[in-house]
Amino acid sequence: MSLSLQNRHALEGHISGFSSFSNANHLSIVRGVAVISILVQPQRAEDARRALATIAESSARSCGPFEWLIVSETRSADSLLQEAISLDAASVDQSDGRVVMRIAGPDVRRILGKCVAVDLHPDSFAEGYSANLLIARIGANLARLAGDCFEIVVDRSNAVWLFEELVARGREFDLSAGFVG
């Protein structure tokens, strides 16, 4: 029996009906992102933090004490896992278990203000900062990529729910949505 197995994105079939163009406020669903979990022992945390910052073409997202997600749009999960070996860390591929959403635009903080309890002012949640928190009652990782650009890494099983919540809360600001990548 020959097989040709296709990988299906969790939001496949949920974005149809939305315009293909982007409004000023836009929610991008990023396809093909490699996401791996990294866990280290407490005494290795500082070394690991520094080392993670040096992994090329990726960014490290803080998930809690001694735990990160490494996210990359250009590298494969295998190559990231390979590189993690040198960190003396436990690492595991989560690429299929996570959905990456990027939300950007002039009203992004007002939209996210309907979803998260934390203060997203740049003085409190600066560029490059990330944390696990509740977004529309869903546990997810939020990172600030730039001034008005945030990225959410959410469990696959919750992705449809969160997507629908973000779209509903963004309607007031003409939030558009679509796949990228």
């Binding site: 197995l5 990988n7 866990l39």
Partner: protein
């Protein structure tokens, strides 16, 4: 427009007329009007009927404390009862309806209550409607509710959206009047993050109602210029139409914003109301002060209203409340009203001043009756005259409106919501906010200040003090001078003696002075008791207008100071908040998050009927054409699995990856059975206990490498099991080198079960999975044809030859499709959790129906899984205590109905034959039951006292809920393949 609308002035847009209806009568107002202002402009003084006596009532205030002008706005699902006309912003097409009257507002049958009023004093209902008790709910309550009350809620669904949001700031300022504006300007100019919230749709507070000049501008223009500057500051957020209703722990304030309550047709893109949680480092309450009514005979007649309200309608809305207005005052406010009315050419009948002397000056030509009082009023639906008394002499004075002022009460409600008690000030003759610490400060009139100039300075200074607490020094905002202010001081006057009619203290609840006397005589002297006995201070206004007078009067009755009596307790909400706003968007199908399996779409296209299982939507069964009931589908699925093969989505099981050189030791301590020597490539059923020895959860442990495991948990306990492990790792054994992470969402997992399972699976898997190469409880990473890497587990919940295949979630649907295709010639069918449940009951496997937080491992027949060899594991110590090892504990058994046609149901209790149903006689209960299509009758798992010794015994199944009682035979809980032959095929 009408004779009550002034031809010029005010802050309404005369170029934008708006039509609305009140009780079906079309009226006109202007943009910028409240409903109350527009009704007054249309000579609609009568707006409602009182709660108990159905007395005609008119508009009393111009703000959120309004007790009388409660109307229903909107119709159908948008009908909102008990809306205060004094804060409702009119819009084109608004439909307003009066309440609590029949058949009409002018002619209300309920007004007969007024004739019976001598019998309807406080406590009447409690004393009268006592017997017979059967009448309480069926007769008395419906009758009383029909006779008394406010508006009626709509039974139609609300078509509008609501939502919640969070906001954060350095300084929250509540109230955008003189003090609030200056506080905001002070902090805003310094670049601090400021939120300025005000319940009004137009910011400016009392400045919008004042006729004074600030600097070289009228007060309202000065307010506009300040607001324009604030709006231009990027760090300042202005929030009109936003009522801050509560102060909670950690400086979180609750607020509700009317987003689209003021528009004819709300946009579906926006909510009509938004509930805010505002987190502030510091807060200033610049909430102003409430003018106190005077308690005199006939003070509730339509046309009697607060002097400050008269000025608001006059100066802000360009509406004269009457053509010949009388004024009854005990302070400067009445004189201010007289001045403003006179300036607009309104005739002033007289100023009756309760004080013998004062420095206040009346406008030229206006008569002042010092040391006088009003003892009665005349008129039916509007005041026509008042009776003034001075030195024993009565005088009737004609008027069509009466402005009253009894002094001012600072609005301190928010500051007292977290336990702080108001403090009586003899100097201010008012309750002031207690010192609640530097995080929250009072400013302006809310702090007892009187003049506009002082309030503005106080607002600025309080802002500077608040920011200094934050380590920020800000420059001084220059406050311009105020021209035209007069002395606003007052002398307290709690009750005007000599009333010839009822003198109301609480208009909304029809509580008058005599009710307080009755409460004191009957022993309800404490102010909290007085409140409950008389109902003073309840309902929508929560005593904003009347409570301080009530305290003054009751204190006077007892011969004590208000300071000795204290106040009732202040709690959120400051003003009513709709259930819609409190619920937000989290209603109906959005009430709780939904989790979707990676095989959701696969299940859907195969005809799955879904069932909610926690947050998950799981496939319950797969209906085929011609199947009329769920049982038909489930029976078919079960029989097919037993005979051929079936595919079930088990992706929702919790999956935790465990790493570290101490991973095996850690799992050995977490589970009650041995895990230390589990070979690589093998899986083992595992049982977790709580510390008290009761079973916590079950699942499997698979060893993928020397220091690498993956454990599965039940779907329901995935989160709890993870937390349990985190807690143990961090607090019990931090010395262990172990790390773990949830991978529940990474893998789509499917169970392929049935005697043909290997035939199907081997078509997809490159590896040898023969029984010899891959025996029962084997685990390995495999390669699928097509290149996808997967994990294969030879474990079974159904009792059949079975595999669980885990593939990266994105490939789940494709792999499931491929398995269905490969299985087509072997008779494969998809099966859901209902069939899974039948399969496991037939096999005697437990779930959380049996592991219900009360059972031990031994109770459910898994005693052998509690290791006696291991030095320690969670639950070991307490699992041996007497209570958990007693011989008469309930034990897991199987049940078969003696009459095979009978249906066993979960929840039914078990009794010995001949025993009466009682707690003492209870022998246990059925935990799980189903129809077994294999056996052709109903079967059940049950917990029965000393059950394992009683196989073959007949017991009585007593189902009190469904009214059934029949015999069942106790048997082994394993109904199918007790030798486990099928597992090892």
């Amino acid at each position: 427009m009408t004779s009550f609308r002034l031809s010029s002035g005010g802050l309404v847009s005369r170029a934008k007329p708006l039509a609305f209806t009140f009780d079906g009568r079309t009226m006109r107002g202007f943009e910028g009007d409240t409903l109350a202002a527009a009704m007054l402009a249309n000579d609609q003084m009568l707006v409602g009927r009182s709660f108990k006596y159905h007395r005609p009532r008119g508009i009393v205030t111009a703000g959120s404390s309004e007790p009388n002008a409660l109307v229903t706005i909107g119709s159908g699902g948008r009908a909102e009862p008990n809306t205060r006309a004094t804060v409702a912003e009119i819009y084109q097409g608004m439909v307003a309806t009066s309440q609590n009257r029949w058949p009409s507002l002018k002619f209300d049958i309920g007004a007969l209550n007024s004739l019976l009023s001598p019998f309807l004093g406080a406590g009447f209902y409690y004393k009268t409607f006592m017997w017979p008790s059967a009448f309480w709910e069926k007769l008395y309550e419906p009758l009383i509710r029909r006779a008394a009350g406010l508006g009626r809620a709509s039974f139609e669904a609300d078509p509008d959206r609501y939502e919640k949001a969070w906001a954060h700031c350095d300084l929250l300022i509540v109230g955008a009047g003189p003090a609030g504006l200056m506080a905001a300007l002070t902090a805003g100019r310094a670049g601090l993050r400021v939120i300025l919230a005000d319940e009004d749709f137009r910011l400016g507070g009392s400045l919008l109602s004042e006729a004074v000049a600030i600097g070289d501008q009228p007060a309202s223009e000065f307010a506009s210029s300040v607001i324009a500057e604030l709006a231009s500051l990027p760090s300042v957020t202005l929030m009109p139409r936003t009522t801050v209703f509560g102060w909670y722990d950690d400086m979180v304030f609750g607020a509700v914003e009317g987003v689209q309550k003021h528009v004819s047709v709300p946009s579906s893109d926006r909510p009509v109301e938004r509930l805010w949680r505002i987190v502030a480092k510091r807060a200033i309450l610049a909430t102003g002060a409430e003018e106190r009514p005077l308690v005199f005979g006939g003070n509730d007649r339509p046309g009697v209203m607060m002097a400050g309200a008269v000025r608001t309608y006059l100066n802000r809305h360009a509406v004269a409340v009457g053509k010949r207005v009388a004024i009854f005052t005990n302070g400067g406010s009445g004189y201010r009203a007289a001045r403003d009315l006179a300036a607009q050419g309104i005739e002033i009948a007289a100023i009756i001043d309760g004080r013998a002397a004062s420095t206040n000056e009346a406008p030229a030509g206006v008569r002042v009756m010092r040391g006088g009082s009003v003892v009665a009023t005349r008129g039916r639906h509007r005041i026509e005259a008042l009776i003034a008394e001075r030195s024993g002499y009565d005088e009737t004075i004609a008027c069509d409106a009466l402005a009253m002022s009894g002094g001012w009460s600072p609005v301190i409600q928010l500051a007292c919501q977290r336990g702080g008690k108001p403090v009586w000030s003899e100097d201010r003759q008012a309750f002031l906010a207690p010192d609640v610490g530097p995080q929250l400060r009072m400013a302006g009139a809310a702090a007892g200040e009187e003049s506009i100039a002082v309030c503005m300075r106080h607002g600025r200074d309080q802002a500077r003090a608040a920011l200094a607490d934050l380590g920020v020094s800000v420059p001084l905002v220059v406050i311009p001078g105020v021209e035209g202010e007069t002395d606003g001081s007052f002398s307290p006057l709690w009750y005007v003696p000599g009333a010839r009619d009822k003198a109301f203290v609480d208009f909304q609840n029809d509580v008058h002075v005599k009710d307080f006397g009755l409460a004191q005589r009957e022993g309800f002297g404490h102010i909290e008791h007085t409140k409950r006995y008389t109902t003073a201070g309840m309902a929508t206004d929560q005593g904003k207008l009347g409570n301080v007078n009530a305290i003054g009067i009751v204190a006077g009755m007892g011969g004590v100071s208000p300071a000795d009596l204290g106040t009732t307790t202040f709690r959120p909400f400051y003003t009513p908040v709709s259930f819609g706003a409190l619920a937000g968007a989290e209603v109906a199908e959005r009430a709780k998050p939904v989790r979707r399996s990676p095989l959701h779409e696969w299940a859907k296209k195969n005809g799955a009927v879904f069932v909610e299982s926690g947050l998950w939507h799981r496939s319950a069964w797969f209906s085929l054409p011609g199947e009329k009931t769920w049982r038909e589908s489930v029976d078919r699925e079960v029989l097919n699995v037993r005979a051929n093969v079936g595919l079930c989505d088990v992706s929702t099981l919790g999956k935790i990856e465990v790493f570290g050189k101490d991973a095996a030791e850690f799992l050995n301590r977490i589970y009650s059975n041995a895990m230390l020597r589990l070979p690589v490539g093998k899986a083992r059923y595992g049982l977790m206990l709580r510390e008290d020895g009761v079973v916590f959860d079950d699942g499997t442990v698979s060893r993928l490498g020397e220091d690498h495991f993956v454990v599965t948990t039940t779907t329901a306990y995935a989160g709890e099991a993870m937390s349990h492990m985190e807690f143990a790792a961090q607090t019990f054994w931090p010395e262990l080198d172990v790390r773990f992470v949830s991978v529940s969402d990474q893998w789509a997992q499917m169970s392929l079960a049935g005697p043909r399972a290997r035939d199907v699976m081997s078509q997809l898997v490159e590896d040898d999975i023969s029984n010899e190469a891959f025996p029962f409880l084997g685990v390995r990473e495999v390669a699928l044809k097509g290149g996808v890497r997967a994990r294969l587990f030879r474990i079974s919940f159904s009792g059949e030859l079975a595999y669980e295949l885990a593939v990266p979630a994105g490939y789940g649907e494709a792999v499931a499709d491929a398995l269905m295709e490969a299985g087509s010639k072997h008779g494969i069918c998809p099966y859901g959790v209902e069939a899974l449940n039948v399969l496991r009951i037939e096999k005697g496997h437990v779930t959380h129906s049996e592991l219900d937080g009360r059972t031990t491992a031994d109770d459910v027949g898994l005693g052998r899984m509690v290791s006696g060899q291991k030095p320690d594991f969670i639950g070991k110590r307490l699992s041996t205590r007497f209570g958990l090892t007693a011989a008469d504990r309930t034990q897991l058994v199987g049940l078969k109905p003696v009459d095979r046609a009978k249906e066993l149901k979960a929840g039914a209790h078990l009794l010995k034959e001949g025993a009466k149903p009682s707690t003492v006689n209870d022998q246990g209960h059925i935990t799980s039951a189903c129809h077994s299509p294999v056996l052709g009758h109903s079967i059940a798992l049950a917990m029965l006292k000393s059950g394992r010794e009683r196989f073959g015994e007949k017991v009585v199944v007593w189902d009190g809920l469904r009214g059934e009682e029949f015999q069942a035979e106790v048997c082994s809980p394993v109904f199918v393949d007790p030798q486990n032959r099928k597992l090892h095929l």
